[in-house]
Symmetry: D2
Subunit: 381 residues, 4 copies
């Protein structure tokens, strides 16, 4: 059934409290880099002002794929980051933030999706380590967002729980719900704070939803969120769980994150996850008790659709984009080649081990940071 129908816009907590699955959107900056609108290395979101049609279209594709939330295209859109990148000379952060809110709202209203105003880590944190300065930056972004019609906030892509906690504290002053996702591994944040404790701190700071995003592959991110969940349970705290992992296979860098891979950022193609990898991810995330399930860098619209298709029974409907997708390859049944027709079934795709087509390339690379040393230290003594 393709039925978006008459559901009306309810808040993020209303949905999660009701036990609904909330499908997140995918990654904007890497996808818009490939489409020609974002500069890798800078990763700033000035396209919201310069090329709104491109941002609008990607929002639409995620919505059509089943996303219940559209995040504002405001990654790295703090004034200090924009200044460092030097990529935008005549556009202010406020202009971008406001334009991005309008774009997300416009598209979200084409269905009953929610808009999340997003902030990410600031250069200021590492440079100054000043709570006042960092909070002032988040406050400025929040004020931009509050001029517009957003539903809740997301703090994302922060690798120090301390900075994320400050962001949560600022955003909670708005009275809106706040989600917070760290880009950390099962081994904890950049100061060594374990995931369970990170979750506790974020909830104590006021976060309604906690989890992880980016930097690590889907199954590793699930492990981290499980550790967060356990930490919360031990502390007697409650929060909704959220996950938006990388759309790449990155087994070598599950401590340091994908920037340590030799392929980052311009040769990640080989590592891209398939829609079938997503089915497995979505099911495992659901089984782990996570109810806000989306993606980050590498997640394209068809990956988001695969989340929505895997969880169609739980959600009660398929997304609009499934009009153009036979479940588990069913549409191949009409192919002219008999061997392609034979692929119109779940078992085929679930068990396929795809070849790289690159006989001179290895399966795994050596990350830049000394992962192996860290791994050894991980054996209990």
């Amino acid at each position: 059934m393709i039925a978006m129908g008459s559901k009306k816009r309810r808040g993020i907590l209303e949905r999660l409290n009701a036990g609904e699955v909330v499908v997140g959107d995918g990654g904007y900056v890497m996808q818009l880099e490939r489409r020609g609108y974002v500069k890798a290395g800078h990763w700033t979101p000035e396209a919201a002002v310069e090329h709104p049609e491109a941002v609008r279209q990607l929002h639409r594709e995620f919505l059509r794929a089943g996303a219940n939330v559209l995040q504002t295209f405001t990654f790295y859109c703090s004034e200090d980051k924009l200044e460092i990148s030097g990529n935008v000379t005549n556009i202010t952060g406020a202009q971008i933030n406001e334009a991005a809110c309008d774009l997300a709202r416009e598209v979200a209203n084409e269905d009953d999706a929610l808009v999340a105003g997003c902030v990410s880590k600031t250069p200021c944190y590492v440079k100054s380590h000043s709570e006042a300065e960092v909070k002032a930056i988040f406050k400025k972004q929040m004020d931009d967002f509050l001029k517009k019609d957003i539903d809740f906030f997301i703090v994302e892509f922060v690798d120090h729980v301390e900075e994320a906690g400050w962001a949560v504290e600022v955003l909670k002053t708005s009275g809106k719900p706040v989600g917070a996702t760290l880009c950390i591994s099962p081994h904890g944040d950049m100061h060594g704070v374990p995931p369970g404790e990170c979750a506790v701190r974020l909830v104590k700071a006021g976060a309604d939803i906690v989890g992880v995003n980016c930097h690590l592959d889907p199954l590793t991110c699930i492990r981290t969120v499980k550790l967060m969940k356990e930490g919360l349970e031990k502390a007697g705290l409650k929060a909704h769980l959220m996950i938006q992992p990388l759309g790449f296979h990155t087994p070598e860098c599950n401590l340091g994150g994908y920037t340590s891979l030799p392929e980052y950022p311009f040769a990640m193609e080989t590592r891209a996850i398939t829609r079938w990898d997503i089915h497995k991810y979505a099911r495992e995330a659901y089984n782990a008790g996570i109810r806000y399930i989306g993606g980050c860098c590498g997640f394209e619209p068809y990956h988001i659709r695969a989340i929505a298709e895997e969880l169609a029974a739980e959600r009660g409907f398929l997304p609009p984009a499934s009009e153009k997708h036979g479940l588990w390859g069913a549409a191949l049944e009409m192919h002219t080649k008999p061997w392609v027709r034979a692929r119109a079934r779940r078992e085929y795709w679930e068990n396929l081990l795809p070849a790289s087509g690159r006989p001179k390339c290895p399966s795994m690379a050596t990350p830049e940071d000394d992962y192996e040393k860290q791994l050894k230290s991980n054996i209990p003594t």
Copy 2:
């Protein structure tokens, strides 16, 4: 915009005769499948009517990436194919063809790009093998196109040179230039006609531009076009050369084409070519004397940009999308991690052998058709 400047719209032959490099666009159906608008297995282009904004945006991205030609989104848009696919019940082929022409024209006019009306192989050919019936189908499509403002025609994705020749003969009656690309290997078409002879037949049928598209990887397609060139030279004929290969590494299937790979069509991610692979491809194509250089399935906007960047000196300008791209990774110079900064140079990316991130997956698969048997028969005796 980087120096697109004052060039005015000149015809495709005018450009090629002047020795200019013409950059083609990339693949529409696979990219729009991932964006949620095309059904794999059917691969029909009803989105031109149903979701014009999605088609328009992809046109724009290819234009921005440097394409000089936008192909109408009319793949498989013959009435007999649409009927078989059963994917579109209330939209006629004529509606799609006309809408697609308008979309391509609208975007092409945002710069000085040309619009090519495209026809592809018909189910009718294999079924009836009737010249009259097949030509009637091509005539009908041509008539749709001629109601609109297109610049020239492309016959593409035909694996029997006989059918392609019929299409050329029909389209030449329009008085417009005609390009023809076969989806064949260096071993020839489906009837065993070698590439050199295929080229001769197409030119004798009236084609102004000949070459190959889809089905095979870039370097293999170059080999095929070289064989076409040699065939033309031996026959004392002249034509422009064109190439629009797959954007995937497919070393195993260079006879049968990528539909014979186990990964087709839903697990091709691992095989995707990088922008650096494209640099090599564009240079080799140029060196082989090919001047119409584009892509087919798997070519995304950033791949087209890479063609334009590799041939920037020859063309005299960079494409608009290079505003958001440091050449050879130059924009990484400002990255916070020292090891990522060290990647801001050509040597790094040219020599990288990207890892798949999938230790349980092989490098090569076994294609469905008996490639190895064919390979063995290829040893001179």
Copy 3:
């Protein structure tokens, strides 16, 4: 310098107490399987009686490669195991044990090597779990050995520390030194006893030398021995350390051991370690404080030579077989092909990542036991 010279036969503890490096021998059963004298699956050593010339020759090759100890070819030579295997009908365990002692002694005396009488795990342990019965089996083997001229005992290839402890207790009644190596991972024995505690129990049972052998690859075995060392240090105990790992790369099975790999036992070729892998292994083992360094299944004579070559400076001499080996490929300097001559240097071989020559084969397999589940449970919570 190739100088075995005038060193006279000193005991194993005398050597280790003096801080000398003792080079062990390699794997007998897998190598003799390939030579045609041992049946895979049974792995029993009746060749000591049936084909003494084959066993003698392999002893000689290990001696010539630099081994200071020759282990009697008595693997699985307990009566209960021989009976189960059914491979030998007319030869008794005592006959094999005695013949094997004579063979080892004969060859050891060609230089100043030592002979170690070896016992391995018994089927009786798992079946009966009776200390009396198991000890009686070890006592019987010991009595066979004591009829002959052996220098010390080795208990090897035991995966329950309890059984190994019983063996040590029996063998210590002989008054001879006893070494004990378990085939366990860094995660401990089959009852979950961690390596550190295993080492403590073995030393308390009377073992003079403790360590690991077989089942896991060299670098993993070093990790396990390090954990043993730490356990002994914490307990205030002292013992010499010993290591005789697999000669295969087995990254997937470092909990369950190589019998869980799909390639075991008849397709392990691809995983074989090179002599250059051995250099790294020998150095790391030495740096970890291990002084009895040899190999098990997969270690051929040239692997043992590589240990002796890596530690030539520490030992003060090269082994006889180095007469036929240029260090780090030096003998390639006289090759006719210039590119092979260019390989006559350490950097070349140290940095080489050898290709498998099998494009359809993966890098890693899925072991039979549920390694991944175990791995996940290994993340600290």
Copy 4:
């Protein structure tokens, strides 16, 4: 012994003329290098004098594995080669040749095997290109052999058919049968003479048996021998066919030979063929009409046994070493682990794609010689 029975020593041509399968032996120099008796880079056979027990034992293992012919261990044993290598200072070529004949004879007589006196290419050929000088060298070796009891001659490892022809002409003066194997690819010898023509020249020079050995993997060598067979048929000539390929997977170097691989000679482990690869090879060789089937570098005794086991029905008996080998893994039926027991069947091993255990290593390497350029030139134009 399993049914070697009462066959008495009959000549090589007697056997081949009767349509029997003759199983050859495996590679001596690489195996004895690993055992510590041959120096890689030199590859000279002085061990026949220095360490006769080692050569004798390897002969015995090949005999036991099913070999009907033992080749004298006289590779590269021409005076000019020995001088260049400088590896042997006080032993003459004649001493080695004679000792090697005695060793082969001694072991061959333990069953009814034949002894083949072997000569290989001379440095003199490339240096002087003098027929007289080269023939004098072969004459000298032949005279050494004729002092001893050998059954026939083999010319092997020659990559110019001209030199091989000269050797055949010399050896035919002895009145004994002569076999000649070139180390060439399907593309012909080093002067570009195609395999078919090479075979014709060798037979015209007097060879009774022709084929290929070394340098290329088994299936490629079969292709070359097939081309030889076709050449002979076209010329109306008759000869027996022989094959002794590499025991390594070398898909990249099937023109230039394995010395062009980066792994040559000290990291070839990963490429070693399994016994199951041999079954396929032996069957295909037999089906191609080849009746003298053995191996060269990389073939160990168990590979020779696999030839004998695959062709047991055709030969009527199993080799002695099959006493210690369950066909197709049958002996695993008694293994303690259920999943290993499940491997006691042909289908398991025939379909296994063994993993390399090396995630950072690729599947294929780049050979030193420009294989790809050669490959491209191979496409028909």
